[in-house]
């Protein structure tokens, strides 16, 4: 199964001291390397802070935009890993090693892999 691990924290990289940010990124180098070797890795990205975000809606064909993320919370989405795991327990084991879990929290979400979704998203051959 595929799981998306959403990393949320109160402090994002941009708000850290240079030394702290460097150390934090080193931990990510190590973790990413480890899950690539173990075969769990499918993809990942770090996101710029929510201050760089814009939220848009289309209503009656008209686009309206507001600044910032769609939900203002203390914890900010800072990045994600897409992983492959046998089941939720394995996903939890992998996600618990994400460095950000020590400072903030990680939401583990199963990826929808029903036929209808796969077809709609152009993964019709099922084996992505």
């Amino acid at each position: 199964m595929k799981y998306l691990c959403l990393i949320c924290a109160e402090t994002v990289l941009e708000q850290m001291t240079e030394a702290a940010a460097e150390k934090h990124l080193e931990e990510y180098v190590e973790f990413t390397q480890a899950i690539k070797e173990s075969g769990h890795y499918l993809g990942c990205n770090r996101l710029l802070p929510p201050s760089a975000a814009i939220t848009l809606r289309v209503r009656n064909g008209k686009v309206t935009t507001t600044d910032g993320p769609f939900a203002e919370t203390k914890e900010q989405l800072g990045g994600y890993y897409l992983i492959e795991a046998r089941d939720l327990n394995e996903a939890i084991q992998v996600a618990s090693r994400i460095p950000g879990a020590k400072h903030g929290c990680v939401e583990v979400r199963p990826v929808a892999e029903d036929e209808q979704t796969l077809k709609a998203l152009g993964f019709a051959d099922a084996s992505r």
Binding site: D87, L88, N89, E90, A91, P110
Partner: protein, 425 residues
């Protein structure tokens, strides 16, 4: 599947005798067979259907062919065969792969029921129902439904929830197990402390719901407590961890006082005033032995410590003989492992018994001063009691009234009202 003709069997029995045997088997082993079917079929609903099919066929065939040598193995393989057959038929126009995988020829009937793996199935079921990805409400509902085999209506009644709400909760929970990929698995030893915790919490919650209904006219709902003790025994049998033993001991020791803790007309009777002759000695002995075993392991935690406290009470000949020094010491250990304001309150009461009401009142006032238990009726009731013993009647009365305003439980209300009247008289 092997045909029945090839199986060794006992001589044909009367239909009634077979029916009785099947019913007995259903009562004693159906949840166990169900747990194994979930592993084999990978789905709660398929397994439930297969279980009922298997018992239905047994009722049909056993009177004619005799009871098979290993009835549980027969029921498991019959249930599995029926389920796979059903999947095949439904999938005829579809893909056949899934059904073929289920009917893996390498897993012969004999392997379906080897005792060791099968014991694990019940443990798998418990850990799946109490998976931390499920909400506490969902864990309780699913455990009672799937592990204990209670009907949805029974659970709804016990928890004063509409049956439709509960049924929906169970359906959603099963969907989450499927969608999130919660495996049917006993956790690895390293994860055990973390994963055992919700299991113990669910069992204790069920027990407490039965021991002291959170609202309503009845003080106890016996069936739930019994169910929780049965679950606790199963867990200790399958996984003799010190905290599981501690929890079972705690439940047995609390349950031992059931007959003594309310009067025939439903009035609450405090520990001090209980007729100790009504305490269940067998449960006390069993609970005490379990606590001792748990404490000897030196890996005990909050459940074993609470059980140890209950054991000190249970083994005192009368209230005056209670070893309050030991109880206060056990509460101090408990506060180091698992501190909560309620535990602090109980510690304060024990200190009051050991060193006098003034010492206890200081501690209670500290806790209330922090605002932690401001809405907890027992904190005000404890304060009232200590003030009463110190002769501070006006303060006692005010605290009883505060407690009265906070409790939702009828017997407790009547108890507090009685205490208030005594103060006025």
């Amino acid at each position: 599947m092997k045909t029945n003709q090839q199986q060794p069997k006992s001589s044909p029995l009367s239909e009634n005798a077979v029916r009785e045997a099947v019913n007995a088997l259903y009562r004693s082993d159906s949840r166990h067979i169900f747990a194994t079917l979930i592993r084999l079929l990978g789905d709660f609903d398929l397994a439930e259907e297969a279980l009922h099919e298997a018992f239905r066929i047994a009722l049909e065939q056993w009177p004619r062919d005799g009871v098979p040598a290993n009835p549980k193995a027969w029921l498991v393989s019959t249930g599995r065969f029926k389920a796979v057959d059903g999947i095949r038929r439904r999938a005829r126009l579809d893909v056949l792969e899934d059904a073929d995988a289920l009917a893996d020829p390498s897993s012969e009937d004999t392997e379906v029921w080897d005792d060791e793996g099968v014991e694990d199935d019940r443990l798998r079921l418990i850990f799946t129902c109490c998976h931390p990805a499920l909400s506490p409400d969902a864990q309780v509902a699913l455990t009672l439904r799937e592990v204990c085999g209670l009907a949805t209506e029974e659970i709804a009644r016990a928890f004063l929830t509409p049956a439709a709400t509960l049924a929906q909760r169970i359906v959603r929970t099963k969907a989450k197990i499927r969608d999130a990929g919660i495996p049917y698995q006993v956790p690895a030893y390293a994860e055990l402390p973390d994963r055992l915790e919700p299991v113990l919490r669910v069992i204790y919650l069920v027990f407490n719901e039965g021991y002291s209904a959170s609202s309503g006219p009845l003080l106890t709902r016996h069936d739930l407590s019994e169910e929780a003790i049965r679950l606790g025994k199963l867990l200790v049998e399958l996984l003799p961890e010190p905290e599981a033993q501690g929890l079972l001991a705690l439940m047995l020791l609390q349950e031992s006082r059931r007959a003594a803790r309310s009067s025939p007309n439903g009035e609450l009777i405090l520990l001090d005033d209980q007729d100790r002759g009504l305490w269940n000695r067998e449960q006390i002995a069993e609970g005490t032995a379990l606590v001792e075993r748990a404490l000897l392991s030196r890996r005990f935690g909050p459940y074993a410590l609470q059980a140890a406290i209950a054991a000190v009470h249970a083994n005192a000949i009368d209230a005056a003989a209670t070893d309050w020094a030991q109880i206060a010491a056990l509460y101090e250990m408990l506060m180091r492992t698992d501190s909560s304001p309620v535990i602090e309150l109980n510690h304060a009461v024990a200190v009051a018994m050991r060193d006098g009401p003034a010492a206890g009142l200081d501690l209670v006032d500290d806790i209330l001063g922090r605002g932690d238990l401001a809405d907890y009726h027992l904190a005000h009731a404890a304060r009232a009691d200590l003030c009463r013993r110190l002769g501070r009647t006006a303060e006692a009365r005010a605290a009883y009234e505060q407690a009265l305003g906070l409790t939702r439980q009828e017997p407790e209300r009547r108890f507090l009202e009685r205490r208030l009247r005594e103060l006025q008289g």
